[in-house]
């Protein structure tokens, strides 16, 4: 009987670490820049959320498009949601996939890894490999990454009138902190 109990207690502690298996974003920021010949546009959202499962290194991150703020005018933000990203139809930009490198999340340190998966923006899915830097700390994982998104890849059409004001390639940088999911 005692043995069974010990076994179960072991299982219970395993459960603890199992539950630590999933990390969730406690603080997530996305910032993008459109650097076109005639205009520089920047916007940011602090509502990037997501989950990382350590055991199989799978993850999902996403940001609601309507939470982007900044821009050069209120009209620009309206056009961003109405005409370009169509945020009512496609409310989120999502990146879901797996980390390629088999890193040990129990060893604190800085790792350069690649996330491979499907990047969905404006309802169009693209297979992407995105490089990022992971800093593993005590019960905390920091991730930051810079990458670009081609408007053409996601069927975001820019009328010729404003082609000098919106870049074809958008620079995105993300900064996030993960903590064990409660």
């Amino acid at each position: 009987m005692r043995k069974t109990l010990i076994l179960l207690l072991l299982l219970f502690s395993a459960k603890q670490s199992l539950c630590q298996d999933i990390y969730t974003v406690s603080n997530g920021k996305v910032h993008f820049t459109s650097d076109a010949p005639l205009e520089l546009i920047e916007a940011e959202s602090d509502q990037l959320n997501g989950l990382l499962k350590i055991s199989d290194r799978s993850f999902v991150f996403r940001v609601p498009m309507k939470t982007f703020e900044g821009f050069n005018s209120a009209l620009q933000q309206t056009h961003f949601n109405e005409n370009y990203l169509e945020s009512d139809k496609h409310p989120y930009t999502t990146f879901q996939g797996k980390i390629i490198e088999e890193i040990d999340f129990n060893v604190p340190g800085t790792y350069n890894v690649r996330g491979k998966g499907s990047f969905t923006c404006h309802g169009i899915k693209q297979e992407r490999i995105i490089k990022c830097k992971i800093v593993i700390g005590q019960n905390k994982i920091k991730v930051n990454s810079d990458f670009t998104v081609l408007l053409d890849d996601h069927n975001i059409k820019i009328p010729s009138v404003v082609s000098q004001k919106i870049a074809e390639e958008i620079l995105v940088d993300i900064n996030l902190e993960l903590a064990p999911k409660k």
Partner: protein, 292 residues
Amino acid sequence: MKRIIFTIILLVESCLLVNSQDLLSMLDSIQNTEDQIFYTDATFKSIRLINGYTSETAAKNELVFSISHRFGNVNQGIYDFFGLDQSTIRFGFEYGLTDRIDVGVGRSNFEKIYDGFIKVKITRQSTGKRNFPVTITLLEGMSVKTIDFAYDDVDYPFSARLYYVHELFISRKFNEKLSLQLSPVIVHRNMVETQDDQNTVGAIGVGGRYKITNRFTCVGEYYYLLPGNTADNFNNSLALGVEIETGGHVFQIHVTNSTGMTEKAFIPETTGQWRKGDIGIGFNIIRLFSLK
């Protein structure tokens, strides 16, 4: 003892269950947009529907410049080039004090009218934590007719030149394409042409837009005069048109049986009749400047 074992098994089980869940659906449960308020944006492309306004206001520090033309009636034929030889114009500015309050001024060559107004978004259509079906905007305006009176031997007081308008715009964006607006309005005129005319005229406006593409929209607007002498002697204003958006510009091209572009002029004083062809071509060009 058995109970303890049972509890532990249950705990382990529940944990394993969580782990087998799909990450995305797990994210759905933590990232719910229910606790946020999303205000409906861009119910209309601009502050003006056709002759009248929309529930939209200029955003904070935004200056909206609009220049409007109404040509003569198309039934005048080729001699007047289908009305294009005559034109009535109004130009105006609207400036956002906050995201919900703006003020505007305008000048029209129709009876040499100056107009000024304030628009206040009382409530906004929203989803999420706070769900509200409509946007309601109040317009309080005043205009001054500065054209010389026909009889200069009579000394009219200045107040005889004043007109007031009180209007509510109740709009709803049903989906990304369709938005409709109901606008009850009262126009008060201190002095009217004849004794039979009402000084205070009520009307109900209905209007809407349907987006064909992201930048091309069909619009319509109708003001129904509430029964009375004015309704008997004048016509309801009807305007139909299209809207083209290019960056910071909105071009509106339409046909209407009204000539004036201030509430005082197109709501109680429309004389043109659609079925007789008393309709004119008109356009509004609306340009937005950000003064941030």
